[in-house]
Symmetry: D2
Subunit: 159 residues, 4 copies
C-alpha cells in the first residue's frame, strides 16, 4: 500500500534554470517523509504510517533519531512552480534489522492531466538510539505497523 | 586524476540535528562541480576541468545547459560546522555519448587529523542544447579535455 | 482588509537552534506574498488581491517583474516546527507611484490557543517593466483592485 | 573600524530571476557575522571581533545563545553569481545593555571595478543566557573588546 502525501512547492524551490532545484528535491522528499511518519504534539497520529508506537519523531528529546545513510534520485522531468501540491507516493521498499528503505514516486498534482512522473527516489534510514548514538533494532510493534506499507522497491531505470 | 575543490560550509547548512543537512549536501556537491567546471567572465579558465572549449557554462544565454538525470549519495559520517572548507575530491567516472558521471568523495578539511571521509556521491549530467532542448553529443574537444580526469567510478558500499 | 494566507512550514526551515531560521522567514513571507497575488496558468485568479488585471506574475515571459527594494522584520517569538500552516496576515501598507509596501503579521496556526504573534514585517516592492528594466507606474486598474487591501502600515515596536 | 569579511556565493543562492535571492541575502549576512565572531574549536580566535572573551559561540552547549530581534535590509542592486567572494563590511552600530546592532554594507568582490554597493543592512542581536533563556547583560570584557568596532549605524536611504 502506498501513501499519497500532498507536498506544496515554494517559489524559492526554483533555481536559476526556473525549475525545482535538484538538491531541493531532497528537502521535498524529507518533508513528505516527515508528514507520513508524523506524530502530533498530543501524541495522536495523523497521516502516519501505522500506529503511534511506530512513528518516527524528530522533536528534541526524542529517544530515537533517524540517520540518512543513502539516497538515490532519478530526475525524469523538470518541475515548474505550480500552486497545487505535488502528489508524492511513498512506501517502504525494504525493512532490515535497524534500517528501512523509503521509496518515492513524485507526480504532478492530483487531477492534473496528463499525470507526469517527475522523480523516483529512495532513502535508506537507520534508527539510532539517541542516548547511545548506536543503531537500534526495529521493534516488533513498529514492524507490524509498517508491514502494510511494504512493497517492492522503486524500479530505477538504471541501478 | 582527481580535482580537490575546497568547499566552505555555512552555518545555515546545519539542520535541527546540528549537522549538515542531507539535502544541503547536494548543494555543496553542485557548488564543487561548478567551481571545477568554472569559466571566468573574460573567457579564461581557472580550476577548470580542461581547456576553455570544454567547460560547462551555467550563465544565461549559454548554448548548452546541463540537466541532472540521476544522483546517488552515501552518508558515512555526520558533518559538523567548521570554519575550514571541506575537501571535495571530484572526478569523472564515466563518459557516455551525451552524458557524464561526476564522482565525489567529501573529506574533512585539508590538514585536519584524522582525515574523515564524510560522503560518497555521483551525479549523472546530460548536456542539452539550449535552443533545441535536446541532448547533444560530447564534442571531441570536450572529450579530450576531460579524459585526464577519467577514473573508475566511485565505489559505493552498496549499489 | 487583510488576507489570511495559510503558509506551511517545512522541517528544513529549522536551523541548528531548532527554530525557524531568521533568513528562512523571508522565504515564508515571499511564499505568502506569491500566494496572495497568484494568477493561475489559465489566467483565472484565486487567492489573489483583486482581479486578474492586478496580479503580479513571476512566470518567465511576464511583462512585469517585481524587485524587492527593502525589507524590515521584527522577530517576537521563536517558531517551532508544527504541522499546521502558519496564519500570515498580509495587507498593503502604502502604495506609491511604482512601488508598494506589503505588510505582514505572522501568527500561530488558526485555532491554536493562545494565538501567538511570531513576526512583524514589511516588504517594499518595485514594479519593473521586463523589457526596459525600468520601474513602471502602478496602473489605475491595479490601484483600484488593490485599494481594498490598503491599511495603516504595520506598527513596529521600534522603527 | 570595520571588518571586511570575504563571503563566497553559491550558485544555489540565485533564484528564478537569476540573481541572489532577497531572503538568501540574510543567510550571507548570517555567515559573515559568524565568521566575524568566530572562535576556533581549540579556543583560539581568528577573524574575531576582539579577544576570546568577547566572541559569540553558536556551538551546542554554549552558555550564551544569540537571538535575532530585528533586521532591516535595503537592496540597492541585483547580485549576479560570481566566483570571487563578496566583500561584506561589518561593524557594530549600537551597543545596548543586552543587545547590539550589527551593521553591514555588501560590496562587489575586492578589486572588481567599479566597486558596487549591493546591499545595506542591520541586525539587532540579543544575548540570551542558555540556561535561564533570559537576556543577559553584555559584560565589561565584551564591551571593551567590541568598542573598536563601534561606528555610526548604517545610513539607510529611508528608515
Amino acid at each position: 500500500m502506498r501513501l499519497h502525501v500532498p507536498t506544496p512547492l515554494r517559489w524559492s524551490d526554483l533555481d536559476a534554470y526556473g525549475h525545482v532545484n535538484n538538491a531541493r528535491m531532497l528537502s521535498l522528499l524529507e518533508e513528505a517523509r516527515i508528514q507520513a511518519f508524523w506524530v502530533n504534539d498530543d501524541g495522536s497520529v495523523e497521516h502516519a504510517v501505522g500506529a503511534s508506537t511506530a512513528v518516527l519523531d524528530a522533536t528534541p528529546g526524542a529517544t530515537t533519531v533517524t540517520l540518512i545513510a543513502r539516497q538515490e534520485v532519478e530526475y525524469l522531468a523538470p518541475i515548474p512552480y505550480q500552486r497545487l501540491p505535488l502528489d508524492i507516493e511513498l512506501w517502504i521498499g525494504h525493512m532490515g534489522g535497524a534500517s528501512l528503505d523509503v521509496c518515492y514516486e513524485v507526480y504532478s498534482p492530483l487531477g492534473a492531466e496528463p499525470r507526469t512522473l517527475y522523480t523516483r527516489a529512495s532513502t535508506t534510514i537507520v534508527l539510532v538510539d539517541a542516548a547511545s548514538e548506536r543503531p537500534r533494532r526495529i521493534t516488533d510493534d513498529e514492524r507490524a505497523a509498517w508491514e502494510p506499507y511494504l512493497e517492492a522497491p522503486v524500479a530505477f531505470r538504471r541501478g
